[in-house]
């Protein structure tokens, strides 16, 4: 190393060291993001079957998207799902974060309990929900029947509306802990003195919430919302495992449709074109959120 850097000035050596430090990350991003992204873009201009020969077809895949009824249906479904699932995750996450904010006895245990579902893989948790929702052995039917809220076992996944609702319930259960932790960090970064002086001024709970807590948590809220929205737009596992896109294909999310085209119908090129379109939509969505929730000077 000395031989290599001996002839370099201190400034040059400092830059080289910096470069070496970021090199692993650069390599990681290149191998797992930049190259696959470029490859996806390249494939989207091809008729690229999963097995067999590929051929260049220009923008045909993109123009076909306009006539794909299911693509539009899936986009519509995915956005409706995102719209319905985001508020409960966020509001419940905020309530939980407020509840576990202060360091009192056993608080670690509660935080751990609320966070636990996040640690389970989405595939595993989806299978768990399939079992809990079952009409013969599932716990939900058992509880509802015992409480006389139902007179016979309910098939939760047989109707589009109930299928969507139970999926939302399962996702809220699964992800709310993560939002809670993010918001908790934001809450704890607000100095107690602010609340104390507000107390002295006679401010009530809501006044403190709207004039101290929320404004000071702008960045955290932006992060939590952006992560939650991205996660919802990219939802796949829960639909693939719990509803299999049913009933009557009413719960095929956009990533599910990309998966189907790429690996079930073997049309990787078409799936790539859809992925690029989805990426563009997501970037636009995230930019809008960033703009709306930006820190105002």
């Amino acid at each position: 190393m000395k031989a290599l850097t001996g002839s370099l000035s201190w400034e040059q050596r400092r830059k080289l060291t910096g470069l070496l430090f970021v090199l692993p990350t650069v390599l990681f991003v290149a191998v797992f993001f930049i190259i696959p992204l470029a490859m996806t873009g390249f494939m989207s201009f091809h008729d690229w079957p999963l097995i067999g020969e590929q051929s260049w077809i220009g923008t045909t895949n993109y123009s076909e998207l306009a006539n794909d009824r299911q693509f539009r249906k899936s986009l519509d479904f995915t956005f409706r799902y995102t719209l319905f699932v985001t508020p409960p995750i966020f509001i419940l996450g905020f309530i939980l974060a407020s509840l576990v904010r202060h360091n009192i006895r056993f608080i670690g245990m509660f935080r751990a309990i609320f966070f636990m579902p996040v640690v389970i893989g989405l595939g595993v948790s989806s299978l768990l929900w399939v079992w809990m929702l079952d009409q013969r052995v599932g716990i939900f039917n058992k509880i509802l029947l015992d409480l006389h809220l139902l007179d016979k076992p309910q098939l939760f996944l047989a109707k589009p509306s109930t299928a969507m609702n139970v999926i939302i319930l399962s996702v809220v259960w699964k992800t709310v802990g993560f939002t809670m932790i993010l918001l908790l960090a934001g809450l704890q970064s607000i100095p107690d003195e602010l609340y104390e002086s507000a107390d002295v001024d006679g401010a009530g709970y809501f006044r403190k919430l709207f004039y101290i807590t929320l404004p000071l948590m702008r960045r955290t809220i932006a992060l939590a919302l952006i992560l939650s929205v991205i996660g919802s737009v990219l939802a796949f596992d829960q639909f693939y495992i719990i509803t299999r896109g049913g009933p009557r294909n009413s719960t095929i999310s956009i990533v599910y449709w990309i998966f189907n085209n790429s690996f079930v119908y073997w049309k990787l090129g078409y799936g790539s074109a859809m992925s690029i379109v989805l990426l563009t939509i997501l970037m636009a969505l995230t930019s809008i959120q960033y703009y709306v929730l930006r820190e105002k000077e």
């Binding site: 999963l50 013969r136 047989a158 299999r244 009933p247 009557r248 189907n260 079930v264 073997w266």
Partner: protein, 416 residues
């Protein structure tokens, strides 16, 4: 030692090392084989083969709905299995993609080459070359519970032969009590309904595809509507358990095993499963009937092929040849209620007095299999048009909408 001797010794050693894998070849070879889970029978077969002590086979069982996806992905990644038992419907697509070894010469050298079941052999052929041979023979038929027939006041020895008789029998059985149902089908399983529901249409002289498989005939063939109405009637009258609507195939076989179902579509795999796990069931079988009589069956099952990337083509073929031999076909296949892959062995010492096995075997004589490169997208896809049409018609009751939806999506897929 002189230099010449040293070179000589090194050469001899190299030859010995090179020869080692040859002499120890078979014991060291482990081939991979993939199969979709069509019962435990394939494992038994592979165990028998492995016990012979030659090249070993490691079996991987894959859920049927995921087989094509996994196989396609494995091939794309260059990790396809040495031997694959493929749903016969997909064999042409894999052969067309150049992923299967050409077996034409090996098959034509077999003394019983002309004895292999013709429908399965045909689907193993692509552009006149042979890429796969019959492996699992499944003709669909309807299995029924004779005890429930008797309780319902029906003659257990004369099962239905028309749609009306089927409906009447289902009504009578459902009337026994609230826990008993006349009929069962897996309402969220696309492939199960291609296997057991399409034949209702075929047996009545109808079809959802034109004879040359070039266009959809869902809205133009009146039988398709009538077949949907038959199931819709049974569903509306509560002759089918409610849980059927969300069965993705996981209860396709097990629902009937509860003993509370009168009739259900199945294949030869069902016989072995029910007899082994539920000997208490008093079983009967009949062909899937047409509207006013007649019968049809989906000639399904698997063909077996060798992956074109295999390192062990000879060993793989040895297994396949052993599988098709007289001894294996009789002592393992027929003895375990499996349908043999050779015409001359269909009737044998084991099947002689067995009505169920004979029905399963004779279903093949009225069997039909659609030959289409887009079969998966049309019929087998869980989000495809076939299942969506069935669900909209039967569970939502919108038969007109279902027919139009089916026609449109079939046409769209077939055109491009």
């Amino acid at each position: 030692m002189t230099p010449r001797r040293i070179i000589f010794a090194v050469l001899i050693m190299a030859l010995c090392i090179g020869a080692l894998p040859l002499s120890a070849q078979d014991e060291d070879v482990t081939m991979t084989m993939w199969v979709r889970n069509i019962g435990a029978q394939v494992q038994e077969l592979v165990d028998e083969w492995n016990a012979l002590g030659g090249a070993q086979i490691e079996l991987t069982v894959i859920p049927p709905a995921e087989f094509i996806t996994k196989m396609g992905a494995a091939i794309a990644a260059g990790e396809s299995p040495d031997i694959a038992s493929i749903d016969l419907i997909y064999a042409p697509a894999f052969a067309a993609a150049g992923q299967l070894l050409d077996l034409t010469d090996l098959v034509s050298d077999l003394p019983y080459a002309d004895d292999l079941l013709p429908a399965h052999s045909e689907l193993g052929t692509y552009e006149g070359r042979n890429y796969a041979v019959p492996f699992a023979i499944e003709g669909s038929f309807i299995i029924y519970n004779k005890d429930l027939f008797e309780q319902a006041g029906l003659d257990p020895e004369s099962p239905p032969t028309t749609w009306d008789e089927l409906l009447e029998a289902a009504r009578a059985i459902s009337a026994i009590d609230d826990e008993t149902y006349g009929y069962y089908f897996a309402g969220s399983c696309a492939g199960c309904n291609a296997f057991t529901y399409l034949p209702f249409i075929w047996a009545s002289g109808g079809d959802v595809l034109s004879d040359d498989y070039s266009e959809a005939t869902i809205t133009t063939d009146p039988i398709v509507r009538e077949a949907l109405e038959l199931y819709r009637t049974m569903w509306e009258e509560g002759l089918i358990p409610e849980g059927a609507s969300i069965d993705d195939g996981s209860s396709f076989t097990s629902a009937f095993a509860t003993g509370t179902i009168g009739m259900a579509g199945t294949g030869a795999f069902g016989i072995n499963t029910y007899r082994r796990d539920h000997p208490e069931l008093n079983l009967g079988a009949f062909h899937i009937p047409g509207k006013d009589g007649g019968a049809a069956s989906f000639g399904g099952g698997d063909v077996i092929a060798i992956g074109s990337g295999t390192q062990y083509p000879d060993e793989a073929w040895a297994f396949i040849e052993w599988m098709m031999s007289d001894e294996t076909q009789l002592d393992i296949y027929a003895a375990n209620n499996r349908t043999p892959v050779r015409v001359s062995l269909l009737e044998n010492e084991y099947s002689a007095d067995d009505d169920l096995v004979l029905t399963a075997a004779s279903a093949l004589s009225v069997g039909k299999s659609p030959y289409s490169l887009v079969y998966n997208d049309l019929f087998n896809d869980a989000n495809g048009p076939w299942l969506e049409m069935i669900q909209v018609a039967i569970f939502d009751g919108d038969i007109d909408g279902a027919l139009q939806l089916g026609q449109d999506r079939f046409t769209q897929i077939m055109s491009g």
